[in-house]
Amino acid sequence: MALARIKSIKDLPPEENILTGTTACAGCGGLLGLRLCLKALGRKIVIVNAAGCFTLLVIYPYTPFANSWLYTAMACAPAGAQGIRDALDMLLKKGRLDPAEDLKVVVLTGDGTAYDIGLASSSGAIHRNLDFYYICYDNEAYGNTGFQRSGATPFASSTGTTPPGIASPIGANLSKKDLFAIWNSHQPPYLATVSPSHPVDLFNKFKKAEQFKGPKLFLTLAPCPPGWGIDPCRSVKLAKLAVETGVWALKESVYGAVNHTVIPRRFKPVEEYLKEQGRFAHLFKPERQEETLRKIQERVDEYWKGYQLLL
């Protein structure tokens, strides 16, 4: 199949598959990511949505989606995708569904589902080689309940359940799970990280994924203004900084072989990314937590050195 790679943001399809005026917070990075994903996926899809912020996009009697949508529960959206795919396959096989009516099945979850409560059902669906797309909008905490620590929360982030205090000045003292590595250990046909700040990279990854039958998995960084403590107009800027500092590595994997798609020529200091955000404010005031800041930078450096992309 010829891959329609694009070179510029101007080449993105003008059609919108999700309407404006949703209930999402102003500046929601996840929603911008989703809008771009849907431009690549088109309208002949069914989204299977786990409990999370995006559950609240569809409020009776309205939906912003041009496509079908099913809410399951928090832990089991990939299982819902299995049921729909199997049913569509059998109805097609038995001649009870016109092939023109077939749908791509797309799981949509936050990081709380992908990293934590839905890890087993995600692993199951990938292991079974289910033919589906998976979009995780990762805002690095349980955002819909007001920002509590999840398996995706980075080291030293302040959240509702990891508040910095005298006894525990760091905030979250656990590191972010490497879900990319966990998923990649299943050797899925296609797996990628994307960012709403890099729409061309995002779009081309979806187009590349089209050629594969089986799991096509996407982790989308989702700057979250209320949770991250940023101005809504800064979401894209923050997503870009995450890439430029090396915190959010843009990469893909085909059957387990990892390739970085955007490698910053000169990595910006991580501090530039951290100091913009309320969730890391305690690292700078009332006094700088030098040791913690150093650890964060070291971990980012170690990651890139591991791939010999930073010497």
Partner: protein, 405 residues
């Protein structure tokens, strides 16, 4: 001769189910193994997938049903509870999934043998419930369950229940109807309501904000379940015409002239019927009502069956800790405003597959006779024999516990 599990598998095969998500759990596993073998051998054109949990399994089965396929799954006990959240979701999607539950006591302590705390925990979920006494009834009830669930007036999922071990692993003569005959009774599932396809985008399971909308959809489910009573009566009449076997909402055993009545469910009702027969031989007008359709609850039929009886004993094979028998409370609620209502006694028996001995049935019948002549009715009785008590005392000594309480 088929086991209850094999009879269930035959019901699914004859219903020509399209999709089966599965997950093993004792004592249900024989059902999914039987189906998996038939599919592997090309005897059933169906997609079978072993899922990663019952929670995922029920989700996948419900989603397949929402997509317009005929779906089936089976579970038991801990598995039903593991997927519990999804029972309410699948019912809320208004899809006609049929699921078999093979009853087994809930842990802790962990056990394998049956009681009905598992399936009765699901009674408020929106699933219809049919409870079976025989292997033939399991097969037949699966066919009937699809007919009722898929009816446009109902569109609710259904649970078909049988007892683990006592029915799941007991071989009985079962008549397996021809698939052509079954097709007359149960035609292919062709939904005209919500299902997913490209030309008809729709959102299912959406958020509602506000009690008025939430209540509306819940009331709709309740009214649909009540409508299932009418549909059930049509379906059972048609089933009798096609197959010659009759399954009313209640199984009435020697009931017409009975003065003393036992109320039971599932396979232990067979023990109850034997006890009724013994009582009849001693000249006592005893009878038995076996509840078959538990959801919707056939209140009118129950009132008619128990009207004018002297005393009724509800034998619950379940226990609501801190309250008592679940079905006692349900029966009491539907008799409370009736004139000429019988004295109503409550017994708990058969938990975790504990036998209900002839002596215990004699005890129950004695209590029924006493209650009929007295003002006061005794409170809940927990059935336990002296022999069981002594064995337990011996076990406790072995476990190092001093003294017996």
């Amino acid at each position: 001769m088929l086991t209850g599990n094999a009879a269930a598998a035959w019901g699914v095969r004859l219903a020509e189910v399209d999709v089966i998500p599965a997950f093993p759990v004792t004592p249900q596993t024989e059902i999914i193994e039987t189906l998996a073998k038939w599919i592997a051998d090309g005897n059933l054109d169906c997609r079978f997938v072993t899922m990663d949990s019952e929670h995922s399994m029920i989700t996948a089965a419900g989603a397949a049903s929402a997509t317009g396929a005929r779906a089936f799954t089976a579970t038991s006990s801990q598995g039903l509870l593991y997927g519990f959240e999804m029972l309410y979701n699948v019912a809320g999607w208004r899809v006609p999934l049929v699921m078999v539950n093979v009853s087994r006591g809930l842990s802790a302590p962990i056990t394998l043998e049956p009681d009905h705390n598992d399936v009765l925990a699901a009674r408020d979920s929106g699933f219809l419930q049919i409870h079976c006494e025989t292997c033939q009834e399991v097969l037949d009830s699966i066919l009937m369950a699809y007919r009722v669930a898929e009816d446009e007036r109902v569109l609710l999922p259904a649970l078909v229940n049988m007892d683990g071990f006592y029915l799941s692993f007991t071989r009985e003569p079962v008549e397996v109807p021809a698939v052509e005959t079954v097709r007359q009774f149960l035609p292919r599932y062709q939904p005209s309501h919500a299902f997913f396809k490209a030309s008809q985008p729709m959102a299912q399971g959406v958020v509602v904000f506000g009690g008025a909308e939430y209540s509306y959809f819940k009331y709709q489910m309740h009214l649909a379940s009540l409508k299932a009573l009418t549909v059930y009566n049509e379906v059972y009449a048609e089933f009798e015409t096609v197959f010659g076997r009759s399954y009313d909402t209640l199984d009435r055993y020697l009931l017409d002239d009975a003065e003393y009545v036992l109320v039971m469910t599932n396979s232990f009702a067979t023990l109850g019927k034997a006890a009724v027969k013994r009582a009849r031989e001693q000249g006592l007008k005893a009878g038995l009502v076996r509840l078959r359709l538990l959801r919707p609850f056939p209140e009118e039929d129950i009132r008619a069956a128990l009207h004018g009886k002297r005393a009724v004993a509800v034998i619950d094979q379940n226990i609501s800790i801190g309250k008592g028998g679940i079905l006692y409370a349900e029966i009491a609620s539907c008799l409370v405003n009736m004139t000429r209502k019988p004295r109503l006694l409550s017994f708990i028996g058969g938990l975790g597959g504990k036998n209900i001995s002839p002596q215990e049935f004699e005890f129950i019948i004695t209590k029924l006779r006493e209650a009929a002549d007295r003002e006061e009715v005794e409170t809940l009785q927990l059935l336990y024999t002296e022999e069981e008590w002594n064995e337990m005392a011996s076990s406790k000594r072995l476990a190092g516990k001093q003294g017996v309480t």
